[in-house]
């Protein structure tokens, strides 16, 4: 069991805050700690919460306008000049529009450019499919040298932002727009490349990333009533994947369900299935967005319509557990 303590009242009345707010605090803090940290934005400063940094360090804030290709390539140049550039836009545009520039000038070029993808996932709600970025995890995960982080809540986003400011690597951080429950605390551990067991169990491992981790915690509570003892593993770093923690859990439970607010193809589900396929071929059920685009609606409506709220997840997990036996040696 990791020393990851859940926030008090997490199931009853959790604190609610947008994940992006944690990024805003983390970036300002990173700027205080290291004067090499600079921030670039593509006309979405308030929306991606770069305004705190911009107010504190106006001389280190660079507005590039609505030009995502220029956003990351100018950042690559700043990195060449010894800076630690954070670039922010909506994930639909960065990395959605400028993937090649990120690959060539940040990743292949191995410069510590930070790509901040705001408004990622279905949680973007009313803006609809064009703005609900669902392919970013897959896009960024296939890129050598790139670190991919999808924080579970705003408190963790703050820590993740500070961590990537120091890691010396090109890094992607995925942020959600709408308020979501804060399940971690300031004392919860966060380390790039680590997954955390939030709740122990023996019947099935539930792997979540981003906002889905909280929904899995809720699902696990519902599953208890059906006498299913689920282990919940939070996977904030999708690349590099914490294979050791995943395999240790799965050796015990023999079954895995993944959940993410993204396309399951190439996403967390893809990463987990690839790892288990090679090391421990247990049954895997991937939950997320199944090869379709999003739609307008309130964030909660969209999440529910896609069957990704705790209750719907619990139902699907229950069906999976009842139908598919646990993996045993000699299976």
């Amino acid at each position: 069991m990791s020393d990851f303590k859940l926030a008090p009242k997490v199931y009853d009345s959790p604190d609610m805050e947008p994940i992006r707010a944690g990024f805003g605090r983390g970036l300002k803090h990173a700027g205080e700690l290291d004067e090499r940290v600079v921030a670039l934005c593509a006309d979405l400063t308030g929306s991606v919460q770069m305004d705190k940094f911009a107010e504190a360090f106006p001389e280190r804030f660079i507005e590039v306008g609505i030009a995502e290709q220029n956003l990351v390539t100018v950042a690559s140049g700043l990195a060449r000049a010894g800076k630690i550039p954070f670039t922010a836009s909506y994930a639909a545009f960065s990395p959605g529009r400028n993937w090649e520039q990120i690959k060539t000038t940040a990743a292949l070029n191995d410069q510590p450019v930070k790509i901040v993808g705001g408004h990622a996932g279905l949680n973007t709600g009313p803006d609809g499919a064009t703005h609900q970025m669902l392919e970013d995890i897959a896009l960024m995960r296939v890129m050598p040298n790139m670190v991919v982080i999808c924080p579970g809540d705003s408190v963790e986003a703050e820590k993740a932002t500070l961590a990537i400011a120091k890691n010396g690597k090109p890094s992607y951080i995925r942020l959600a727009r709408d308020k979501t429950p804060v399940f971690s605390t300031v004392d919860s551990p966060f380390e790039i490349g680590k997954a955390y067991v939030l709740k122990e169990g023996k019947d099935v491992t539930l792997c979540g990333t981003g906002t889905m981790t909280y929904e899995l915690l809720v699902a696990a509570e519902i599953l208890k009533k059906h006498k299913i003892d689920a282990e919940v593993v939070h996977v904030p770093t999708i690349k590099p994947l914490d294979e050791a923690t995943l395999l240790k859990s799965v050796q015990k439970t023999g079954r895995v369900v993944t959940a993410e607010e993204a396309q399951i193809a190439g996403g967390l589900g893809g990463a987990v299935a690839e790892c288990l396929g090679e090391h421990l071929p247990v049954p895997v059920k991937r939950l997320g967005v199944m090869d379709r685009y999003g739609e307008s609606g309130t964030p909660r409506e969209v999440i529910e319509q896609f069957g990704l709220d705790g209750k719907a997840l619990a139902h699907k997990i229950q069906q999976f557990v009842e139908k598919v036996p646990q993996y045993k040696k000699g299976y």
Partner: protein, 286 residues
Amino acid sequence: MSGRLTNKQLEEKANTIRKDIIRMLEEAGSGHSAGPLGLADLVTTLYFDVMNLDPKNPEWDGRDFFFLSNGHCVPVQYAVMAERGFFPKEELMTLRKWGSRLQGHPERTKLQGLENTSGPLGSGLSQAAGVAYSLQYLDHDNHRFVYCVTGDGELDEGNIWEAAMFAGKYKLSQLVVFVDRNNIQIDGNTEDVMPLEDLAGKWKSFGWHVQEIDGHNIESIQDAVGMAKAIEHRPSVIITHTIPGKGVDFMEYDYHWHGMPPNHEQAKEALHELRTLRGKIKGEHE
């Protein structure tokens, strides 16, 4: 910087570079001929006369920066860097081969002295602008300059004009860009593929100081750089008119040579032309 070369010596260096380019490309069996030959005078002048650099300490923190935005022209940069002492000249013959530091398109992490990784067009100017921004606004170091070479066909890319707007907005006066105006790209002449004119007017309207020069006249290059460095509160672009395939009769002006290397016979003929300066010199040593 040790003893400066005369312009006559720079011309001779550029001719040496052209011969190296032909040999490299023949040996590699693939790569781009026209652009690198056309850029030989410019890149030679930059590395041997204009830029502050230290080949023995490529990361020297007082250096000027050179960004090649049109990465496919890198044979000219490799040849000039070797001639300047960044690495042994023998290594030029490893271009595009397995295990070589001289990748088909330049990779910063493979070869010290390269400032960027490029090939996909349109991004080098932004990277140069990022360094220029840092020097001007973050490091407050106004003694160093950032030189960037772009192709003309490359200007079809939207990323270029995003960078042009950015550099204009921030008045990046330590940024000096050369557009290699050789009028060719893979599918034909630039004005047929996607017209660029009024090219000077375009840059001017983005807030740049614009000059046009003969890219084979070393004194013109030097003068234009001097002017660009003197201009304040604006980035500088120098539209550098060059002849694609310069120095080799059968390659000059022909867009088919954009992305082709010479075969053995063609290389022999090209080297003969370059050695004799097209018959001006009689006693050729093979």
